[in-house]
């Protein structure tokens, strides 16, 4: 008897950033093929950066992603400062952490309320969801707005902020400017706490994956803008060692490169990885809220990423308030960064995970070579493995229900296709 063949195809994935598709092919009970196809057209950033000045890189790389421009700016600055042997002062480093908390809140807020929540409640969009449950969406939007307010004030605007530069900032905000922001953040923090409780009470499929978690960690805080790379199987690396342990490969079905560990295996970065490796370093409020929402110290159910993201929002708000309350206005907004002929590596934790940059500079600071590894490239292989497992576990479902479940499995990781172009098209082909 020949096995029944089925194909599931979503030609254009919705509620993700950028353009991708899903392809799944099943023969009987065998999952033959799963692909996250990224057809978002490539924009060749690593090529167009060649010949640019080292001072231009943070503004240019911001344009890779409208949702996480701060991540690109700060990874670029870290790599270039490394190449030039410059180190920013502690007050500048704290201000960088502050603007970055804003981006986490804004990006996670968008995903939790607008992109992911409709999956759990059976709606096509947050707008449709808001007709029946206006409170959920309105609360999410207010929290997201608080994140944007941070980026707006520290960075000048929420998308492609203008105030970040190599060495620090063009202008440091004054204590007086920041204080009213803290009041807005406190209101948002109360709402974010409610949102963690709400997310924890959603219905989750019983599903765990054996992830190799990869994230930056810090000795005494939850890593955001700096740290050493750690993994659940014991890696402990500085940025200069990254490319010895990880590589990118090209696959025919995607304009996004796939990252692998040198042993060929996949890994996961992003909220689940950060939480799994550092949940003990969250603020007490965020730790308690996570426990109350049913999370242990490690969460390996990708469908619960909405809870982890909500916890990270709460943490980021807590952290932003703390950073404002302890704000020490820098004497100078930026340190001098003198160019030299050298290479440098830098990384930070973008909302979706580790973002690595490397640059080689000429003596006058002209960029000779650039390498950028965004989180979605790193997660792409792992997302496909999730899909394979989700299809296998739900093979009895009809095509429409299975396709929806698969799309949700992709959205669990908040893929950013615009970033990764070097991303994904999923079809399900059932034979």
């Amino acid at each position: 008897m020949s096995a029944e063949r089925r194909t599931l195809l979503t030609e254009a994935l919705a509620r993700v950033e950028g353009e991708g598709a899903m392809y799944v092919r099943i023969a009987g009970t065998d999952v033959e093929e799963v692909q996250l196809r990224i057809y978002e057209p490539p924009r060749f950033f690593e090529a167009l950066l060649r010949g640019r000045a080292y001072t231009e890189v943070s503004d240019i790389t911001a344009r890779i992603c409208g949702i996480c421009p701060v991540a690109y700016q700060l990874s670029a600055c870290a790599a270039i400062e490394d190449a030039c042997g410059a180190e920013v002062t502690e007050p500048i480093a704290r201000l960088r952490r502050l603007i970055y908390t804003g981006e986490w809140i804004e990006s996670h807020g968008l995903h939790v309320a607008m992109l992911h929540a409709p999956d759990f409640l059976g709606y096509d969009s947050a707008i449709a969801l808001s007709r029946d449950h206006p409170g959920i969406v309105e609360r999410g939007l207010r929290v997201k707005k608080a994140g944007n307010a941070i980026v707006d004030l520290v960075g000048g605007r929420a998308i492609h902020p203008v105030n970040v530069r190599v060495g620090g900032f063009h202008r440091a905000p004054t204590r007086r400017e920041l204080e009213p922001l803290a009041e807005q953040l406190k209101v948002a923090r109360d709402e974010a706490l409610e949102a963690v409780r709400w997310a924890g009470a959603l219905d989750f499929p019983d599903h765990e994956e054996d992830y190799r978690l990869v994230a930056l960690t810090q000795p005494d805080e939850y890593a955001i803008e700096a740290g050493r790379l750690a993994s659940s199987d014991g890696l402990d690396l500085g940025p200069a060692e990254y490319e010895e342990h990880f590589f990118e490969e090209q696959v025919p079905h995607s304009n996004a490169l796939h990252s692998r560990l040198r042993d060929g295996g996949s890994y996961l970065c992003g909220p689940l990885a950060r939480y799994g490796l550092s949940s003990g370093k969250l603020s007490p409020l965020a730790r308690e809220a996570a426990a109350d929402a049913g999370l242990g110290p490690v969460c390996l159910n990708p469908f619960q990423s909405i809870v982890v993201r909500s916890v990270e929002i709460l943490f980021a708000l807590d952290e932003a308030i703390r950073l404002i309350e302890t704000y020490d206005e820098p004497d100078r907004p930026a340190v001098e960064v003198e160019p030299r002929a050298a290479s440098g590596q830098g990384w930070t934790e973008a909302p979706r995970g580790l973002l690595y940059h490397r640059y080689r500079l000429a003596a006058d600071g002209t960029v000779e070579e650039a390498k950028i590894v965004p989180p979605t490239s790193q997660n792409q292989l792992r997302i496909e493995e999730d899909l394979r497992a989700v299809v296998a576990a739900n093979i009895a479902l009809g095509d429409d229900a299975l396709r929806l479940r698969c799309e949700q499995a992709i959205r669990n990781h908040d893929p950013c296709i615009s970033c990764s172009t070097h991303f994904l098209k999923l079809e399900v082909d059932r034979r």
Binding site: A14, R43, E138, G156, H170, H422
Partner: protein, 257 residues
């Protein structure tokens, strides 16, 4: 009840930031969604409906043959079409390939360029189909986007100022960064819309809203040259997010020799 106008939002080669501006209207988005039928907005909804559409908003530039074909279909299905952002109106940062060899670009990023399909140039949507209105900025200003949508839904012209960033800066009462500090600033030739953000943050304008009407950048270039900008600095200054806008393109080429 009269049917609500049907709105569609499309993405071509871009960073997503301009359509994100719509979702960043946290106080207005739900109200707006009540006034229109969001017929196609993939980033926000999996309920994608067929045209025709009353208003299509397009982000991104044309960099593939498939997108060149797609934009014709979008145009045919749309009563009005508005492009938003530097990618859609000028080709975006990815238009830097227009000054280089795209084969070289591909080989830098991809080990197997044959898997990747791309055009040699990144071009604005207006080079491919008729565009009813262009909203500039990298990214666009979300208040201006709301104004443009409101205007089109009410069949009036958008009230978007066409003067320079320089005017906005003076109105804001900033000290001129060029005159006071000799800082290179594209404010005199750049389209208004940001509210003179950069000078307000102690840096020169970097032209992300693209050229204003009749910008005469050669005169600004002379001033910047007299204050220490070399030819390469000038090429780089004009050759960013709006490198493909004619006035900036010509001026960058003029300093390349």
């Amino acid at each position: 009840m009269t049917p609500r106008p049907r709105l569609a939002v499309w993405k071509l080669a871009s960073c997503d930031g301009c359509q994100l501006s719509l979702l960043d209207l946290e106080d207005e988005i739900l109200t707006l969604a009540g006034e229109v039928e969001l017929a196609y907005f993939l980033e926000a909804s999996s309920d994608a409906r067929e045209g025709p559409y009353d208003l299509s908003i397009v982000e991104g530039s044309i960099t593939t043959a498939a997108d060149a074909e797609r934009i014709r279909r979008v145009r045919a299905a749309s009563r009005r079409l508005v492009t938003i952002g530097a990618c859609a109106t000028a080709g975006g940062i990815q238009a830097l390939r227009n000054f280089a060899d795209v084969e070289d670009f591909m080989s830098v990023v991809y080990a197997s360029p044959e898997y990747v399909s791309t055009l040699a140039t990144s071009t604005p949507v207006s080079e491919h189909v008729k565009v009813d209105y262009e909203l500039h900025g990298c990214p666009i200003d979300r208040r201006q986007l709301l104004e443009v949508i409101s205007a089109f839904l009410n069949e009036r012209r958008p009230a978007i100022p066409s003067h320079s960033v320089c005017m906005e800066c003076k109105r804001r009462g900033n000290v001129c960064v060029m005159v006071a500090h000799g800082t290179a600033c594209l404010g005199p030739v750049t389209h208004a819309g940001c509210g003179a953000l950069c000078p307000s943050y102690d840096r020169g304008c970097y032209g992300c809203f693209g050229p204003m009407e009749d910008p005469q950048p050669d005169s600004l270039s002379r001033w910047m040259g007299a204050h220490g900008a070399g030819e390469l600095d000038l090429v780089r200054a004009y050759r960013t997010y709006n490198a493909g806008a004619p006035a900036f393109r010509e001026e960058s080429i003029a300093h390349e020799r």
